[in-house]
Amino acid sequence: MFRPSHFTAVLLFALFASTVFGITQRETPRRMFRYGIYCFALFVGSAIVLSWVMFLIAR
């Protein structure tokens, strides 16, 4: 059984989703790559920010 940590799961999810978003939402390879990186950063960044928000709320 594959047992990733929560953060590893976030990284994997962001990698796969941003790959598909980049390819399907833009038309040229350069823009696809840049949009994929942008989506990846937003996925991971928002997960980190929301994690801190939930941590602070729970205290």
Binding site: M1, F2, R3, P4, H6, A9, L12, F13, L15, F16, A17, T19, V20, F21, I23, T24, E27, T28
Partner: protein, 133 residues
Amino acid sequence: MPNKPAAGTSAQQGFVYLPLIAGWLVPGAGHFLLGKWVRGLLLAAAIVLMFALGLAMHGKLYTGAQDILDILGMVGDLGNGALFFVGRLMGLGADPVQVTTADYGSKFIVVAGLLNVIAAVDAHNLRTGRKES
């Protein structure tokens, strides 16, 4: 405004929904049919790996329709096309979710299906010329 035809003569012949259906059944196949080999390979790798990792995490393949969440989960899973049907035939994803990673896995499988639908629609848009390249 009429849609622009996709580049190449093959895009103007044959069954217009073939890339959509092929892309749904086999991840990346719609792009392969249109000669977009690298994109198809990347899409197939992302979707198949996400589905496989979901199963490796002991994620659940939704089959029943007991409540609205199960129905929505099954709709997402069906987006995986042949992967879903083969997985069901092999008895994969049938265990109840008991650990946290299995819940992650179930979500991976659902999202892989939704991403596959997006990829198949992209292939259809390329085929009809709605997306230029």
